[in-house]
Symmetry: C2
Subunit: 412 residues, 2 copies
């Protein structure tokens, strides 16, 4: 009998009525002849309510105790969903992260899963029960409750699917799949039937926030078939899987974008070894993550150094960079938080030249100036002024033939 892991997020279980609807969806899957394990998040709003209580008591609540607090959110949901399922005639049994021994390291608030004890769950599903598991949480080797950080329920679902060798791990969200571009920007954006883990990782890290990156990494590592689909509508969603399965052979899978970036530049830096770490060290020490980095060497033995950070960290990064500039004798510091990153993503580009040039030409034809470029094996990203976001995404979607009516096999 096929084994399906389903994961429902906070919005999907946000009210008693929605929990009933989730129960119906779970039962439908069970009736189709599957064994079912369900992973759920806290009801929407609950985690914020709990954090709010803690914030009244301390500006920096002890991480261990914050995890004890937050883990109650999913515990409420697993109990309610199990009650609903049993009431509808489908016996269900719930487990907290601790009860099912989702063992993690001891990094409270951002723990990583080490292993899962599957014996108990296997026994339950073989007895015909539906197993309901609290997402987002685990237990360290000393029995302390840990949480995986926000969005960690996706990771729990994938880890359960991996541990139990499930046939599919279905992540129910508020979108009905992964699109070739944001449908709110590109009218002809098309839901993909399938996409590779690597492409999904690039899409996710580039701002297509359908899945948590860690869960996709986990799925790739353990070869779990991951499917993104809608909690609220019927439909096949998008399967995220290995390259060699029934994958579309498109060169480019989609156009991703990210509005959350800001750009900082330090110019006239004396060009000597170790200068990059002198510039980025203080930024990293302030817990600011750096995304793209570009360095050009000028003629006068000085260099210009540009990097991007999350827009929320822009002011802080700018002030750190100004101090660094004084210290290392740089000429000037500038910044821009009205930029966006647009990327073309696709495993097909590995073996095809010309993707970058097609991309740059399409942008140039519309007079869009490229401020930074960064590439990987399966993506090319550019930074452009924010005002060009929609135009840029649309013309690239079109330039690579991603519209609703079929793929262009060779677009480069």
């Amino acid at each position: 009998m096929p084994l399906i892991v389903q994961k429902y997020g906070g919005t999907s279980v946000g009210t008693i009525e929605r929990i009933q609807a989730v129960a119906d969806k779970v039962i439908e899957t069970k009736k189709q002849g599957n064994q079912v394990i369900v992973v759920v998040s806290a009801m929407s709003g609950e985690t914020n309510r709990l954090v709010g209580l803690a914030d009244h008591l301390s500006k920096a609540p002890v991480p261990r105790e914050l995890d004890v607090l937050l883990s109650t959110g999913e515990q409420v949901t697993i109990a309610l969903l199990s009650i609903a399922l049993t009431e509808k005639g489908y016996p269900a049994i719930s487990y907290t992260g601790g009860q099912v021994h989702i063992r993690t390291d001891n990094q409270h608030n951002k723990a990583r899963i080490i292993d899962i004890e599957k014996a108990r769950v296997v026994r339950d599903i073989e007895e015909g029960k539906i197993v309901v598991i609290a997402g987002f949480q685990g237990i360290d080797e000393d029995g302390n409750i840990t949480t995986l950080g926000r969005g960690g329920s996706d990771t729990t679902a994938v880890a359960m699917a991996a541990a139990l060798d499930a046939d599919e791990c279905r992540i129910y969200t508020d979108v009905d799949g992964v699109y070739t571009a944001d449908p709110r920007i590109v009218e002809g954006a098309r839901r993909m039937d399938s996409i590779t883990y690597e492409e999904m990782l690039e899409m996710a890290s580039l701002g297509s926030k359908v899945l948590q990156i860690r869960s996709v990494e986990f799925a790739r590592k353990y070869n779990v078939n991951l499917r993104v689909l809608s909690s609220f509508e019927h439909g096949p969603g998008t399967l995220i899987t290995d390259e060699d399965e029934t994958m579309e052979q498109a060169l480019i899978s989609g156009i991703a974008h990210n509005r959350d970036e800001a750009k900082l530049t330090i110019v006239g830096v004396p060009d000597k070894p170790g200068i990059a770490s002198q510039i980025l060290g203080p930024i990293a020490n302030a817990n600011i993550e750096v995304d793209m980095i570009v360095q050009n060497v000028g003629l006068d033995n000085t260099t210009d150094f540009t990097f991007t950070v999350n827009r929320n960290d822009y002011e802080k990064a700018l002030s750190i960079l100004k101090k660094t500039a004084d210290k290392i004798g740089a000429k000037d510091v500038s910044g821009d938080n009205k930029i966006v990153k647009i990327s073309v993503v696709g495993v097909g580009m590995r073996s095809h030249a010309g993707i970058a040039s097609t991309m740059f030409k399409a942008l140039a034809d519309e007079g869009i100036n490229i401020q930074m470029i960064s590439t990987s094996e399966i993506k090319v990203s550019v930074v452009v002024a924010e005002k060009y976001l929609e135009l840029g995404v649309r013309i690239l979607h079109s330039a690579f033939g991603l519209e609703e009516n079929g793929n262009v096999e060779e677009a480069g």
Copy 2:
């Protein structure tokens, strides 16, 4: 260093401000040179909120899942109190019932504690930490979460005190101790400095709802010094302990009463063996608890049979009794739910005659008719019409010399 277990109920931790106040009280005890373990309930209203959610999904939620749900209530409180204590500079660590291995039987919603693994808590308190434990909950031998039933947090506190051989177990409530009678009825009612376990058990079972009966039984069994005191005021409260300690040598400790009773009578029952079980069997099968039972044998080989039940069960019991009357050929059934039980309680009466007659005379002098009588080693209870409640309690309080200004050693 003395070890004190403190227990705070739902009202005491009902808001963020009250949790702060509890933290201050705990710290005060710690500063006085004690090791401290704190047991807490769910914030007031939380358990009802959770039950309400479950009720929307099922009229009879699966008991196992209801426990998973309800146990989150205390888990929130232990985290918040630990955060508050640590913020105030007193490192604290929280444990759920499962984490501290409060092992119970598997009777969900009304589990009984079997044992407690104390190693971890001992290590923590020896390291100087304040240990905060979720009341009301435990774990069965299969790792399922159980709850002890409402009020079970008192039992958790006493069990922790017993397991760790604590010097005292302090139960903080909304009253400042145990009184010789209800102070709302008797102006001269006096807070007792100490009382025996047995007297407290009788007082509790007779409607002085200061402590949960189970916790007093537990304290007696393991010889735990139990102190009832106020969460909101300073004061020594009342110590509940062994008879041979610094006990007042009063004959009578106090006057208890219970308004929750109703009386049922079946008359003209053919008097033959097994008749009592034929009458009470159907009542017990309907999960109705019977308190007092009186049977008189008449002259014509029939008997009258009277018993009391909780007032909430009155209608149900009456309808069952009517069916039984038809079946066994009894003459009539009557009932009265406007009755109260008044009791005099005291270990001193064991060795003294005359308590009952003093009691009956005092009531007769005021024209109060006694409807039923029941006695034990340390109490005499009577059932009277509800309208006599206040008068009855007051004259007995006075007849046994329990007023504020000293005890009368011999009152019988």
